[in-house]
Amino acid sequence: MNGLLFLLPIALGLGLLGLVAFFWALRRGQFEDLDGAANRILYDDEEGPQG
């Protein structure tokens, strides 16, 4: 029972961290252009499109 007192908050906290990260990504518009993200990896130059 004592172990639960630690483990439950840890488990929930980690899950919550994931949720916060997801919302952060959503707010930052990382899900706006999934097709573009899939293609961006194919840029063949080292420095990226914007120099």
């Binding site: 997801f22 194919l42 840029y43 914007q50 120099g51």
Partner: protein
């Protein structure tokens, strides 16, 4: 970012969004972003490939026109995003946050539930139930909103859809679980409810992704009309006037290669016009002073002055857009298979739950126990797998088609395509390539130096014949020789000097069909017939369509002789000289006989027919209107895309039906348990995830749907 920018960083940045319809790959994205970033004053440029837009942050002194010019220099047409389009809502976006919340809550509650199932007792179980309630109830309230909203909306109109039983099930099961938690009871269904919401939201999101992809092409319709024209004012000055501001009486100067923005009458000059997008006619039409020309046609040869007779909503282009609007209405009545299933499903589920409640009451169980059993029935029958049955299959199938170069714009397109039994093909641009190609046999006979001279001349012109001769000769490995003093005479052709000899490439004197003549002083003239060839694999594709039990015929706007020639070549019957309204009428007539029609077309003139048909396919080379009106767009030249798409659609619907059978089969097994009162939260969770996994696995077989 752009470290070399001379503009001081503290200048307030402005944002311009440009629509770039031509972008479709990583190379295009990189080119567009680099071109914009290289403009002085632009601090960043980022492409959104899904929306075909690029957003540039720049100093205030940079104008949108500078950015458009920079993109034009690397070969991309673009225009500033208009305000109406900027609001286009994404169907996926509002679902993502609920999906994330449901996934988070489902995982955590499931973690606690497993402990309860494996035998937590007394205060531990009570603690776990309380934590589950604490996570579950807010999460259910938030992530369930898409279903609650939709259910309320249809209930207000006194109708029902799939979301009504889902919402009722969610609310009842949550209330019951909360009651159990309060009273320290044995079973709480928070995990089951969250899992249900998670799976259903996943299905919705997949469906919405397909719809979003479809919307990417929607802004294209008005791009087809030139966005404006250079207007000659009475004092001779030229002024750019936007298409919306053109008024009858104005005189437009149309350069060669420009599209008309309004209908009008030629008052100066003469030229040939490519009307193929508007009428389906393959040969360019010559027009001179006094002739009427239409918006959307392409001026091929020489600059002309055109007095506007009709603009904006009065043009023939706008008339076609209106015809299309009218034609699309019957299609919007189509009820998707998932909705048809839910119409049967919702009453059945509710009746079953009500019957088990009544049955247990009669059998003497208390209100509490009867309610628990009725809710267990609702949860068990809640259509987890049914919610996934259609979207997963359609997304997998459209992915398979996309790898074959066929883009599916809408999930319901696959359903409609699977039912067709009649195919109508447009000729120019659909069955044929839609561009005049030099006869390969004649090109083979060209001597090396003759070919080089032809190439040297052709490379000076943007006329479609020159371009296709150039491309064909280059493909054969010929290299251009230097031709001096090349001049292009509008409507005549190109001429110049090669090693002191007069050479020319241009219009043939013989009036037998389309051809171009290469003349070299001191040699025989050489006539190069220009033919609009059949698409590769056309014969094989048509044969496969027939083998699939489909009746195929031609429906063309071109003249009878041209249609008859092609029809003989491929062995089809055909209707010629059909204008947009006639094409639409032909389809309506077939539909009135109960036929399900697939229209294959590319032009503006096919727009209404594509919209009216039960399903429609356009080649990627089609006009924007054609691509927008069609359900499917195939890239590349091969006509094999047709039988492949039909085959994939039929296979998809077979899998969808299997999915329904599997999902309902699971219910048939689980429902008696629920009615008998043996279902606990663990069995409910297992049944739900089990049937969903089976449905997803079955749908994944469609990865090979086009093979």
């Amino acid at each position: 970012m752009n470290a070399l920018s001379p503009i001081p960083a503290e200048a307030a940045p402005e944002t311009t969004v440009l629509v770039v319809p031509g972008m479709h790959c990583a190379g295009c994205m990189a080119k567009v972003e680099r071109a914009l970033a290289a403009v002085p004053g632009v601090s960043s440029a980022r492409v959104n490939l899904t929306a075909k837009q690029v957003r540039a942050e720049h100093a205030p002194q940079v104008e949108a026109a500078d950015l458009i010019a920079a993109l034009d220099a690397v070969g991309f047409a673009s225009q500033p995003r208009s305000d109406e389009l900027s609001k286009a809502p994404s169907a996926v976006k509002p679902l993502l946050a609920p999906l994330g919340v449901a996934a988070f809550a489902c995982m955590n509650v499931m973690l606690l539930s497993v402990s309860v199932w494996s035998g937590a007792e007394g205060s531990t179980r009570s603690l776990f139930h309380w934590i589950s309630a604490l996570i579950g109830i807010p999460a259910i309230a938030y992530s369930g909103t898409p279903f609650f909203k939709s259910a309320l909306a249809v209930l207000k109109r006194a109708r029902t859809n799939m979301d009504v039983p889902i919402s009722i099930g969610i609310v009842l099961a949550t209330t019951l679980s909360f009651y159990e938690t309060l009273t320290g009871g044995h079973d709480a269904y928070f995990d089951g409810v969250l899992m249900l919401i998670l799976f259903l939201l996943a299905g919705r999101t997949l469906d919405a992704m397909m719809r979003d992809r479809a919307r990417a092409g929607v802004d294209a319709l008005l791009n087809q009309a030139a966005p404006g024209a250079s207007v000659v004012s009475p004092d001779g000055a030229l002024q750019w006037v936007a298409a919306a501001d053109l008024a009858p009486g104005m005189v437009m100067r149309i350069a060669a290669g420009e599209r008309l923005a309004a209908d009008g009458e030629i008052v100066g000059g003469s030229s040939a016009f490519d009307q193929s997008l508007l009428t389906g006619e393959s040969a360019p039409v010559a027009a001179t002073i006094g002739a009427t020309v239409h918006a959307g046609t392409l001026n091929l040869d020489a600059p002309v002055d055109v007095r506007v007779t009709a603009a904006g909503p009065d043009t023939s282009l706008a008339e076609i857009a209106r015809l299309m609007d009218a034609a699309e209405q019957p299609r919007s009545v189509y009820v998707r298979i998932a909705d048809r299933a839910s119409r049967l499903y919702a009453p059945a589920v509710h009746t079953l739950a009500a019957l088990s409640f009544a049955g247990w009451m009669i059998a003497g169980a208390g209100i509490y126990q009867s309610t628990v059993i009725a809710i267990a029935v609702l949860i068990i029958t809640c259509p987890c797998a049914l919610g996934l049955a259609v979207p997963v299959a359609q997304v997998v199938a459209s992915g398979a088609l996309m790898r074959e170069g066929v883009m599916v714009k809408d999930g319901s397109a696959i359903e409609r395509l699977a039912t067709i039994d009649r195919v109508l093909l447009d000729k120019t641009g659909s069955l044929t390539l839609g561009r005049p190609e030099p006869d390969p046999a004649v090109l083979d006979r060209l001597g090396g130096d003759a070919a080089s001279v032809a190439l040297g001349l052709a490379s000076h012109s943007r006329h479609p014949h020159s371009r296709s001769i150039e491309a064909a000769l280059l493909a054969r490995g010929h290299r251009a020789v230097r031709v001096d003093g090349v001049a292009e005479a509008a409507g005549i052709g190109l001429s110049g000097l090669w090693n002191g000899r007069k050479v020319s490439l241009g219009r043939s004197d013989a009036a037998d069909g389309m051809s171009t003549t290469l003349r070299i002083e001191g040699r025989d003239d050489l006539r190069i017939p220009m033919v609009d060839r059949l698409r590769p694999d056309a014969q094989a594709a048509l044969a496969r369509l027939k083998a699939m039990g489909l009746e195929v015929s031609l429906l063309s706007g071109d003249n009878a002789a041209a249609v008859a020639e092609v029809a003989r070549e491929v062995g089809l019957f055909g209707q010629a000289a059909a204008d947009p309204a006639a094409k639409r009428a032909a389809i309506s007539a077939l539909q009135a006989q109960g036929r399900k029609v697939l229209m294959v077309g590319d032009g503006l003139n096919d727009g209404p027919a594509l919209a009216a048909a039960d399903a429609s396919i356009a080649p990627g080379s089609a006009s924007d209107v054609g691509r927008q009106a069609a359900d499917l767009v195939f890239l590349g030249d091969s006509l094999n895309a047709l039988p492949r798409s039909v085959l994939a659609a039929r296979r998809t619907m077979r899998v969808v039906k299997q999915n329904f059978a599997l999902a309902i089969g699971y219910n048939v097994l689980a429902v008696p348990l629920a009615i008998a009162g043996y279902v606990n939260p663990m069995i409910a969770a297992a049944a739900m995830s089990g049937s969903s996994l089976v449905v997803v696995a079955n749908s994944l077989r469609l990865v090979r749907a086009t093979k």
